[in-house]
């Protein structure tokens, strides 16, 4: 008999070694997340996937599923915390959706929509951050980086390169690229790299592809991220 946990009262089967996130996703239960991606080692940094496991807060993307766990996921207080976390991500960076070409296809924005975030709540930082447009095919806009490290992991684990890393701590944390000049053009990154397509926000973009999908046909125009995420990530989990 398969081992099970419960999520919001539903019985969810899991296999040994699976995280709560993996078990949930396989069973068609959405847990909000940004730094988690089924193809890569979990990082546990964005904290959006915080769930209550037997009464204690845990990151679903890193916490192993174990027989008999009672998990609370879709609860008012957890979603309120998730909304606050998302608001903090928005005020810490410079997320001007109307002038960002990722708008409509952006996971950060979609999670905010899903959590019914209508304002930023906190004072905005307006931190000055740089652009790196040096590469012929790829643009980095540090204003939109949320330090999820998906590009770091994709470059390392999938592309077999070490193009990205996170440097500094706390508020001084920032994304760096692996070249003496510090510019993306002097790395071995190419537009076909997984790392060029993994960013959940508009921080890493492929040049010359902006605004090709009209409003109304973008990923999150009519479908919420819970549905989109389950449809796309279940396939990855099943591999």
């Amino acid at each position: 008999m398969a081992k099970t946990i419960t999520i919001d009262g539903l019985s969810i089967p899991f296999e040994d070694g699976q995280t709560i996130m993996q078990a949930a996703s396989d069973a068609g239960v959405y847990i909000p997340h940004l730094c988690h991606h089924p193809e890569f080692t979990p990082h546990g940094s964005c904290k959006l996937c915080t769930v209550k496991v037997n009464g204690r807060n845990c990151s679903a993307c890193t916490f192993p599923a174990m027989e008999g766990q009672e998990v609370i996921n879709n609860a008012k207080d957890l979603n309120a915390d998730r909304q606050k976390i998302t608001q903090m991500l928005f005020v810490e960076g410079n997320h001007f959706c109307p002038s960002c070409e990722k708008t409509g296809n952006c996971q950060l924005q979609a999670v905010a929509y899903h959590l019914n975030m209508l304002d930023d709540h906190f004072p905005l930082f307006y931190q000055h951050r740089e652009l790196d447009a040096s590469h012929t095919d790829i643009l980095i806009d540090h204003n939109r980086c949320i330090f999820c490290t998906l590009c770091v992991r994709a470059s390392h684990e999938h592309d077999g390169k070490e193009v990205f890393a996170i440097s500094g701590r706390g508020i001084n944390k920032h994304l760096i690229v692996n070249s003496e000049s510090g510019l993306l053009k002097d790395t071995n990154m190419t537009a076909s790299d997984k790392a060029a397509h993994i960013c959940p926000t508009g921080a890493i973009l492929i040049k010359h592809t902006a605004y090709q999908v009209p409003i109304g046909e973008r990923i999150y125009d009519h479908q919420q991220i819970d549905q989109v995420s389950l449809n796309s990530e279940q396939v990855d989990h099943d591999k």
């Binding site: 109307p98 905010a112 307006y126 009519h222």
Partner: protein, 180 residues
């Protein structure tokens, strides 16, 4: 007339796009006018708010001293104050100047800009002073509701106002919430 709900509107550091979008409710404005009377607003050209406004709609962020005065007048006069659009909510496009020192902005526009003649930075005492940074309005006064969008669509205005006027807690369905 006296029983009508008083609505005041203004555009601070905005482009009037939110007001234009509001007017896109088209003929529904007649229905609205049966229950609503416009107070201070670019639509009426009334200069100051009556003290008993019910709803204040604020477009745009806060970029100068006059914006601060206007916003405070609205807060004082309106029972319910609403941040309308991206600029009111996070500063929006005008806040893009926040990454450039104010002096550089002024020099670029009035001293070193292309085609500038008789270069001087405007300093007439009648002109409102610029703030060093453009701020969202919730950093200056308490805001009761937020309508995101650049601009929020006419349906957002309609849904919000009809909810509020009917005494319902306003709520926007998924398709009406967007930041762009």
């Amino acid at each position: 007339m006296t029983n009508k709900i008083r609505v005041a509107t203004t555009s601070l550091a905005g482009c009037f796009g939110c007001h234009m979008s509001f007017l896109d409710i088209d003929e529904r404005i007649l229905e609205l006018a049966e229950v609503v009377v416009f107070d201070r607003s670019p639509i009426t050209d009334i200069e100051h708010c009556s003290i008993d406004c019910d709803i204040g709609l604020i477009e745009g962020g806060v970029c100068n001293s006059e914006n601060v005065h206007t916003l405070r007048e609205f807060r004082k006069s309106c029972k319910i104050l609403v941040a309308v659009g991206a600029c009111a909510i996070n500063g929006g496009l005008p806040a893009m100047r926040n990454f450039i020192p104010l002096e550089e902005c002024l020099n670029e526009a009035y001293i070193n800009g292309m085609g500038v003649e008789n270069a001087q930075i405007p300093s007439d005492p009648e002109l409102p002073l610029l703030l060093d940074k453009v701020r969202p309005i919730h950093e200056v006064v308490k805001i009761d509701y937020f309508l995101p969008g650049c601009p929020p669509s006419a349906d957002v205005f309609w849904k919000f106002l009809t909810d509020l006027i009917a005494g319902r807690e306003p709520s926007l369905p998924y398709e009406l919430v967007h930041y762009d």
